[in-house]
């Protein structure tokens, strides 16, 4: 008998029964085709049963131990805990959950498979078609796929990770063992946060710079390798914050946009206060700026299509940068 058939039979029996089933009884039914006469055979069979229970538990199926009427140890799968309860979602909740469960669909992240099966479970009781719900998708660059899956595994089971990492300022990659504490994504890039045993500090590792496979510690798979530090907050570990901390004083600035790119006036790091449109289609926009440097850089990104007209300090910041770059080009 195939292993999968054995597992299905075990589940069917333990779900169907109203009384706990003893190991003896299982040996005569589900495990009948396995030898179980001698003591050694019985031991081997018991180990097989333990492994089967383990495998089902990893899938989320819990086999519970209950006393039989005769006071023996028996096994059941309680239906109340196995079956997905009714959720009774409102139409709005259904739409929200559909969008959420589809976000990672086919994304190439380790979330995509589980999110899809979660979605199918959640719509099980709903007969209405959800095809008109708008899609929002996450698309991953293919490179990170396998590393992400291993990291998530280590994160969920609290197991050490081993990989080779080339830091930005290092010429050669270094082999590291890391206790994975958290995972974050900024600007579309994944970063692992963890205690690096090699450097003895908590660090961020950009997935793009991991140059080897990520190995999850295989020893003692059922026990966690480490405890999380008290009060660990992933937000504290992220070396950049967005939006940037507000400056002491906000300043007002006016920017003139050509008609060509005026549509992008609200994509920047400042609050839009008011605007005037001119006959030629160009636009003068007043902003409240809390981070002048960031603001100036954003305006410069428009090239000749945007120009700061006030205040003088910001205009000087711009001209200083422009002169700098021209100087650099002359010296070579």
């Amino acid at each position: 008998m195939d292993k999968i058939e054995r597992l299905i039979n075990l589940m069917a029996y333990l779900l169907d029964t109203s009384r706990p089933v003893t190991f003896e009884k299982l040996s005569d039914t589900v495990y009948k085709s396995q030898p179980h006469r001698t003591k050694a055979e019985k031991n081997a069979l018991h180990k097989m049963f333990e492994r089967d229970k383990e495998e089902l538990r990893d899938m989320g199926v819990n086999i519970e131990v209950r006393k039989t009427r005769d006071g023996e140890e028996g096994y059941v799968i309680p239906r109340g805990r196995y079956y997905l309860p009714h959720l009774d979602l409102t139409p709005e909740e259904k739409v929200a959950l559909t969008i959420v469960s589809r976000l990672f669909l086919g994304s190439g992240t380790p979330f995509s498979g589980p999110a899809h099966s979660a979605f199918l479970k959640l719509v099980f009781d709903e007969d209405a078609s959800l095809s008109d719900v708008p899609h929002v998708r996450w698309v991953e660059s293919p490179g990170d796929r396998e590393a992400l899956a291993s990291i998530l595994d280590g994160l969920m089971r609290r197991k050490y990770l081993r990989f080779s990492y080339r830091a930005l300022d290092a010429a050669e990659p270094i082999e590291r063992t890391v206790e994975p504490y958290g995972l974050f994504n900024r600007w579309g890039c994944w970063y692992l946060v963890g205690l690096c045993h090699t450097r003895k500090e908590t660090r961020c590792f950009k997935l793009d710079r991991i140059v080897s496979d990520v190995e999850v510690n295989e020893k003692k798979p059922k026990t966690a390798d480490f405890e999380l530090p008290q009060g660990f907050e992933i937000r504290d570990q992220i070396p950049w914050e967005w939006p940037p901390a507000r400056g002491v004083e906000d300043i007002e600035s006016v920017v003139h946009f050509t008609p060509r790119l005026a549509f992008a006036r609200e994509s920047g790091p400042a609050r839009h206060l008011s605007e005037t449109r001119y006959e030629d289609g160009s636009l003068e926009v007043t902003y409240e700026v809390s981070d002048p440097e960031h603001f100036v850089e954003w305006v410069l990104g428009f090239g000749a299509d945007a120009r700061i007209t006030a205040p003088v300090e910001l205009k000087e910041m711009v001209t200083e940068r422009l002169r700098g770059i021209v100087r650099g080009l002359r010296t070579r």
């Binding site: 999968i4 299905i8 069917a12 779900l15 029964t17 495998e55 899938m59 199926v61 997905l84 309860p85 979602l89 409102t90 709005e92 739409v95 929200a96 959950l97 969008i99 959420v100 086919g106 979330f111 498979g113 589980p114 999110a115 979660a118 099980f124 007969d127 008109d132 708008p134 899609h135 929002v136 998708r137 991953e140 660059s141 293919p142 994160l155 969920m156 930005l168 958290g182 974050f184 600007w187 579309g188 660990f232 060509r260 790119l261 549509f263 992008a264 100036v296 990104g301 090239g303 000749a304 120009r307 711009v318 200083e320 940068r321 422009l322 770059i325 021209v326 650099g328 080009l329 070579r332």
Partner: protein, 323 residues
């Protein structure tokens, strides 16, 4: 998860759909579960070998197929799907958190109450464990609040053709296109509208911050194959072809590192004197020139010559404007 448990998982999720209603469509099952008809039949044949003691024909599950529909009997113990697993719950919480941070949903709206209901499926201990885990996975999508959001969403919902004005990145020119909206896509730090473009007769991605205007045309979308495209393959902007310019830059400070963080196709090396050498490939020197202006005297543009020339022209002209 082992291969056996992956297959078992699929079977356990599929059977309820066949048992519960009046059978299920073979075609739809294959599509939803990502299997071929042969694989589906193979799964069903396996089930036919299984059941409860005494394993007589009356104890084993059975199925039959009539036309496109498949029916099952004697499988009532698998009439409902397995409760949510840990991985499934974590995926929902992480995705939910990301979409709240992106502003697609409000925290206290229907998403919040729906996730509460999902939380009730779990025991208190499981729930605490999963929430703590989801807290440690912080996925930030930049805010999705462009001025066109409402119109694009309406187009997606009503499946209507949109008329958009779009600034093409590689050609640096504005084009007007009719687009059938398929979905919103987040990839490597940007939001895109994925759509079937009438101008290109192909699926295309449009970065939201380069869309100049959007209008609903009232015309229904006609393109049928809504799901059969390969989205990851479409996000091809990161692999410039052979025509791309090879760019070499040297930065005086840490800025080079920032570029490498933002630019997936870039490499960087820290020189002995502390400067950072960055190499990248791009098709669009026009855009890169604008981007480099902000670095002032902290960048030295080494190659190509066209880039040096373009930056010099731009900076000089802008300086005149500021005078």
């Amino acid at each position: 998860m082992t291969k056996v448990s992956q297959r078992l998982n699929r079977i356990l999720l599929m059977v309820p759909f066949i048992v519960a209603a009046d059978g299920a469509s073979v075609g739809e099952l294959c599509k939803e579960f990502g299997v071929s008809r042969e694989e589906l039949v193979c799964d069903l044949e396996t089930l036919r070998m299984c059941g409860v003691p005494e394993y007589t024909p009356a104890d084993l599950m059975d199925y039959w197929i009539e036309g496109d529909r498949v029916y099952m009997m004697l499988a009532d113990y698998f009439e409902r799907p397995l409760n949510l697993t840990r991985e499934e719950a974590v995926s929902l919480y992480v995705a939910g958190g990301a979409l709240v941070k992106a502003g697609v949903f409000e925290k206290d709206g229907p998403l919040g109450t729906a996730l509460d209901k999902v939380g009730r499926l779990l025991s208190d201990r499981e729930k605490a464990d999963i929430e703590e885990l989801a807290e440690r996975i912080d996925v930030e999508m930049s805010a999705y609040t462009g001025s066109w959001r409402d119109i694009i969403e309406e187009g997606l919902q009503k499946q209507q053709v949109l008329l958009i004005e779009y600034l093409s990145f590689s050609r640096d020119e504005m084009t007007e296109r009719e687009v059938e909206p398929l979905s919103l896509v987040w990839s490597r730090g940007h939001w895109y509208l994925l759509g079937w473009c009438h101008l290109a007769s192909d699926t295309r991605l449009f970065r939201l911050d380069r869309i100049k205007s959007v209008e609903l045309t009232g015309e229904p979308a006609s393109w049928e194959a809504r799901e059969s495209f390969n989205v990851p393959a479409l996000v091809g902007e990161y692999k410039p072809g052979r025509k791309a310019h090879q760019v070499r830059l040297r930065f005086a400070g840490r800025e080079g590192r920032r570029i490498v963080e933002e630019w997936p196709a870039a490499t960087c090396a820290v020189e002995e004197d502390g400067t950072v050498l960055v190499e990248l490939r791009t098709l669009n020197l026009e855009w890169l020139s604008n981007y480099l202006l902000r670095f002032g005297d902290r960048v030295e543009i080494q190659a190509p010559k066209e880039l040096r020339k373009s930056v010099r022209t731009k900076a000089t002209e802008l300086l005149k404007e500021y005078r």
